[in-house]
């Protein structure tokens, strides 16, 4: 189990240090500083010296470190470190040296609730925010700052302390209950649910043009603003789902969403490797592929999936790169937009690598702006809009200086970034989202689709 949590700044100064187990001294902090922070050769996030292991991740300019003295569950430790970072971001906007120094007592307080005796306890944002609040919030709320305190024997404060008692009880029952991510007294004026389907397209093309890797990393983000304790059911045009409830659900979903089949091909998609937010009832999904959940209040990531079949790859890149002798490299790159005409790709950036000894470049691009960036050794070609079906091209020459280096140019791949809205690469469509709540209110639902470049690489 975790023996200590330490936060360091870039220089290796300790910002937070909390020990949980006997047998460790505070000076353990020096070991990590010497062995990892000031050692440029370290390549692993895990370091074991004797029986003491240091596991770390970075958050902006900080090292977040867990010290362990036993054969600890490494997955648990890393997940916990990420949770610290995520919570820190949510509380302070960003989680770096500055924000930690500005709130160090709060960080200690949070850690005290998040971990006990080196075992992670309670890391639900929604819950923690109810009784561990930032200074600003505290001074604004009730006068007695923390409601759970003081027992002064006069009538007024007695009723207050009764209230406090009640409140602290709801907190404890939520922490230990079945849905620790949601309190039951949420109220919203308008009941709304926002769904964002974001797909990252990963592609790797070999120099001969064959596809080595093509897959989609999809995430479904939600923002729920629902009152009470709503039960939600979520449906996609996933293969199995469709077979079972095709007749029942089709008309409804088209009425509700109004977007069905607008751009993505109709039919079904085969999702693989689905991973769900803790609120999703996994047993139900396993049983009949239905996604049922009681959502946390606010933003969360409902699910993550992968898709490898029947992808519509948005861009076809045809690179022709010729190394002429030792002095010149000639580029001729054509990119074809392979998506429907109604759609437009925005923020397209293409990075074309050049040899390290490139001295001068001449670039001629059909669209957008292209510039040579000597610090990263690449031509950065930015095109703000590309409409579906169109074609753009770039011709460039890089002059090379003479070099004695023997190592040949290792040719990093051409990489690409882009955004296309209202279309998915996998063809995934949200079919329905049902919300059941005791009070039976109406819910307004919003769906958005976004396709982005993940690791979109073309070797040449």
């Amino acid at each position: 189990m975790i023996s200590a949590i330490l936060l360091y700044n870039q220089k290796g100064e300790v910002l937070i240090s909390r020990l949980y187990r006997d047998g460790l001294r505070r000076s353990i902090a020096d070991v990590f500083r010497i062995q990892v922070i000031s050692n440029p050769e370290v390549r692993s996030p895990i370091l074991t010296i004797g029986s003491t292991s240091f596991m770390h991740c970075k958050s902006e300019d900080m090292y977040v470190v867990a010290v362990n003295r036993s054969n600890v569950d490494a997955g648990m430790v890393f997940e916990f470190l990420y949770k610290i970072v995520a919570l820190g971001k949510s509380y302070f906007g960003s989680f770096n040296e500055q924000s930690v120094k500005e709130n160090f007592t709060l960080v200690y307080e949070l850690l005290d609730e998040m971990i006990d005796f080196g075992l992670p306890q309670n890391t639900e944002m929604d819950m923690l925010k109810q009784y561990i609040q930032t200074e600003a919030k505290r001074s604004g709320s009730e006068s007695g700052s923390s409601a759970v305190s003081v027992s002064v024997p006069d009538a007024l404060s007695r009723s207050k302390s009764m209230k406090a008692l009640k409140r602290s009880k709801t907190i404890t029952s939520q922490i230990t209950g079945a849905t620790p991510w949601r309190r039951d007294n949420v109220k919203h004026h308008r009941n709304e649910m926002f769904v964002d389907v974001v797909e990252k397209v990963n592609l790797l093309i070999s120099p001969t043009g064959s596809v080595l890797v093509a897959n989609v990393d999809g995430t479904i983000h939600m923002k729920s603003q629902l009152s009470g304790v709503p039960e939600c059911t979520f449906g996609l045009n996933d293969t199995l789902r469709l077979d079972q409830e095709h007749d029942e659900d089709d008309p409804r979903s088209s009425k509700r969403g109004g977007r069905r089949g607008s751009t993505a091909p109709t039919g079904s998609v085969g999702l693989q490797d689905c991973v769900f937010h803790p609120c999703v009832k996994l047993n139900n999904f396993d049983h009949d592929r239905s996604i049922n959940f009681v959502p946390p209040d606010g933003e969360f990531e409902l699910m993550h999936y992968k898709c490898v079949e029947n992808l519509s790859i948005p861009f076809k890149v045809v690179p022709s790169v010729q190394i002429v002798g030792k002095s010149r490299v000639e580029y001729d790159i054509v990119i074809k937009a392979n998506f429907p005409k109604q759609q437009t790709a925005t923020n397209v950036v293409i990075n074309i690598p050049t040899p390290r000894n490139a001295a001068k470049t001449t670039i001629n691009a059909s669209n957008g702006k292209a510039k040579y960036d000597s610090s990263t050794n690449q031509i950065v070609w930015k095109v703000s809009r590309i409409s579906g079906g169109s074609e753009i091209s770039l011709r460039a020459t890089a002059e090379l200086t003479f070099t004695t280096e023997k190592t040949p140019w290792n040719k990093p791949p051409i990489s690409m970034d882009f955004e296309i809205t209202m279309i998915t690469c996998s063809g995934l469509v949200v079919r329905y989202l049902k919300v059941f709540e005791k009070s039976n209110y109406n819910t307004v639902k919003w769906v958005r689709y976004l396709m982005k470049g993940g690791s979109y690489e073309i070797r040449f």
Partner: protein
């Protein structure tokens, strides 16, 4: 309001004045400000703060504000050991709080603090309130009390074991609230892990209850529960299969530790059901998909998942059937430690049907920028040729290697030559065509291992290479005295081979080299081998040919390399997802105090293939033996060294090291040929095993691990 201004070094005396100025119930704001300064100084290890102990105790006694208390408690926990006699002052207020009727949060906080202080008084006094709070009406308090028991036990085992706290903790396993049950399990596991005489075992009822509530609690509770389920031993295969079915949905949880905990449990249960995959056929797909998912998470988790894939592929490959090698192709910007681990997996998953894709991919990596990745890729290509025995696979590997040799990049060429040497040895008579090409790169060789490989090739094929004697003479023998021992050993053998294959060409070289090897070295192996060849050549030159360059060389095998000892695998399986699974070493080698784990026997436990163990043992013993070519001690006087000058006894005997693990010495001469044969080929085969570090095993010193991933158990070197 920012705390930034408090985060500065302060003097204890000044802080004390400020503390005293803040006395009185109304100055809550001032108190907090001073306390924040103190906490900041504690963090910066400003040990001056200890002198404020008394003032803080006063504050704990007088203040009622929760924030003030929390900070005072933090101070108390940090410095209590330095001033035990003063710390007791805080005992009464803590006990009062623990009995508070006001709020469960106050009770829990008090108990948390009380149990965190490793002082005898606190533990003694803490026993009673803990007993009471273990059965508090509020589950949050009960949960905290469970961990308090474990905490107090870790401070002082005796006091806790004399009370009935552990028995009470056991009772809480039947608590109605899943979170409390999970905490009780976590506490019990923590205690039993460190205790030599306590053991946690769950019966079928408990296990099944836990599996039922698994979905109803927080991710962290699920982790504890999944771990605890390993303490249950199924009695029938059916029980094991049922359990697998029940936990299978957990593989889709977003928390990596829940996923790996489930994988661990499934792999564990697979030991108790012979036909698990027939009964639960979806396991391989689900397990593979869960692992692939983890590989798209943060790099740290990817690394963990990759190491565990290696582990499972070695212990129970059937559970990961259908895992595509493509999932492990490197991304351009993967960190190095991920790339090298992926390479090992690519090697493991390569087979005759995907060899084409794999080789194309490896070729790509072999021209990358990072030297470590390049070397490992080239090595992987070479090893694939040995691993896959089909004709096409070996041919494709050799073609790829030759393509890489053409790059003329020094370290790629050298690595390729090492790989090709092994291929030539493995498939005699098939790839000799490449030798000519290799001889063009002699100038590029500056690494001992590559030089050694090249020398072996030149010696072995001395009759095929036109000017083999010139190559040896000019490129290697000229620098004899500067070469490391392994190259010298190879040179010695190569020269003798040359002499045997082309007596006229080697005539001049042999005596020179034998003289160097026997007279001008301090290395016992080299000296022994020198004498052996010497004696062999002078006594029976015709037998020498059969021994040094026989028509049929013993074939090398690589299947054994990667396989770890089944006992180690068994232990590692139980530690899937833990640090030991990253190092892939027996837990005790990394954590000296860890309790060894093994499968609990049960009627349905599948017996381990012990024959494997025996075989491995034998192999290891053989390797051990051949490593130390036992210097036989024949009667020196009876040696007929012919015209060669006989070394004097005085020179010889004192320098022979006492064999530490060698075979018993055999005095009779007739056995010599056999042994020297094994010596002649020995250094090549041993080299190969060294590459894989398979036979050498996992004997890594405590310091060795210090270099992190560099020293993890690797398959490829």
């Amino acid at each position: 309001m920012s705390d930034l201004k408090f985060f500065t070094k302060g003097k204890a005396a000044e802080l004390r004045t400020e503390l005293q100025a803040a006395k009185g119930p109304k100055n809550v704001g001032k108190k907090k400000a001073v306390l924040k300064k103190i906490v900041a100084n504690m963090t910066m290890s400003n040990n001056e703060m200890i002198v404020l102990f008394e003032d803080i105790i006063d504050m704990i006694r007088s203040s009622n504000d929760l924030d003030v208390k929390k900070m005072c408690f933090l101070y108390l926990i940090t410095y209590c050991k330095a001033k035990p006699e003063l710390a007791t002052g805080a005992l009464d207020p803590l006990l009062d709080d623990a009995g508070s009727r006001e709020s469960p949060l106050i009770r829990a906080l008090a108990l948390k603090t009380l149990s965190s202080i490793p002082l005898e008084d606190f533990i003694r006094e803490g026993v009673e309130p803990t007993k009471r709070l273990l059965f508090d009406e509020d589950p949050y308090v009960r949960k905290t009390a469970c961990l308090a028991v474990a905490k107090m036990w870790s401070h002082d085992t005796k006091i806790v074991e004399h009370s009935d706290l552990i028995a009470l903790l056991n009772k809480l396993l039947n608590d109605g609230n899943p979170t409390v049950v999970a905490s009780a399990l976590a506490a019990l596991m923590d205690i039993t892990e460190k205790s030599s005489d306590l053991q946690l075992t769950l019966d079928h009822n408990h296990a099944s209850k836990i599996a039922t509530v698994l979905g109803e609690c927080s991710e962290w509770s699920q982790i504890s529960m999944l771990q605890a389920l390993l303490c249950w031993t199924p009695q029938t295969a059916l029980e094991a299969e049922r359990m697998v079915e029940r936990v299978l949905p957990r593989l889709q949880h977003s928390n990596a530790a829940v996923v790996l905990g489930t994988v661990r449990l499934i792999v564990y249960l697979a030991n108790y059901s012979q036909n698990l995959l027939e009964h639960v056929p979806q396991i391989p797909t689900k397990l593979s998909s869960a692992m692939v998912n983890l590989i798209s998470r943060q790099p740290e988790l990817q690394y963990l998942a990759l190491r565990n894939c290696i582990l499972i592929l070695q212990s129970k490959p059937q559970l990961l059937q259908g895992l595509s090698v493509k999932a492990f192709f490197c991304k351009y910007n993967d960190p190095i430690y991920i790339k090298t681990t992926k390479l090992e997996l690519i090697y493991l998953l390569a087979n005759d049907s995907n060899i084409g894709v794999v080789l194309r991919e490896l070729r790509e990596y072999a021209t990358e920028i990072d030297v470590q990745v390049v070397r490992k890729s080239v090595r992987a290509i070479g090893k694939l040729a040995l691993k896959l025995e089909s004709a096409t696979a070996a041919k494709a590997s050799v073609d790829t290697l030759m393509y890489l040799v053409e790059t003329r990049v020094s370290y790629i060429v050298q690595e390729a030559i090492v790989a090709l040497k092994n291929i030539l040895r493995r498939y005699p008579g098939r790839f000799e065509g490449v030798i000519g090409e290799l001889c063009e790169h002699l100038d590029a060789l500056d690494e001992p291992e590559a030089r050694e490989a090249m020398v072996w090739i030149v010696g072995q094929y001395a009759d095929r290479i036109d000017d083999s004697h010139l190559i040896l003479e000019q490129h290697f023998l000229s620098t004899w005295h500067d070469e490391p021992v392994n190259v010298q050993l190879a040179l010695l053998t190569a020269t003798v081979k040359l002499f045997i294959l082309r007596p006229t060409r080697g005539q001049a070289m042999v005596p020179k080299v034998l003289k160097w090897a026997t007279e001008e070295t301090d290395n016992p192996d080299l000296r022994d081998r020198g004498y052996m060849y010497w004696r062999l050549l002078s006594s029976d030159p015709s037998a020498a040919r059969d021994i040094v360059h026989p028509d049929k060389m013993p074939l090398i095998h690589v299947e054994d390399e990667a396989i770890m000892d089944p006992r180690v695998l068994e232990e590692l399986e139980l530690g899937i997802g833990t640090l030991a699974s990253i190092y892939l070493k027996p837990v005790r080698h990394v954590f000296r105090l860890a309790k060894p784990r093994k499968l609990t026997p049960s009627p349905c436990l599948i017996p381990r293939k012990d024959s494997d163990v025996d075989e491995l043992k034998q192999l290891a013993e053989q390797a051990e033996k051949s490593k130390q070519p036992a210097p036989s001690m024949p009667d020196i006087a009876s040696l007929n060294l012919g015209t060669l000058q006989s070394p004097s006894l005085a020179q010889y005997t004192p320098l022979i090291p006492t064999p530490t693990t060698g075979t018993p010495t055999t005095p009779s001469f007739p056995q010599m040929p056999q042994r020297s044969n094994s010596v002649a080929v020995h250094h090549q085969s041993q080299q190969l095993l060294d590459d894989g570090s398979g036979s050498q095993g996992y004997f890594v010193t405590q310091n060795g691990i210090a270099q992190g991933s560099q020293n993890t158990q690797n398959l490829l070197w």
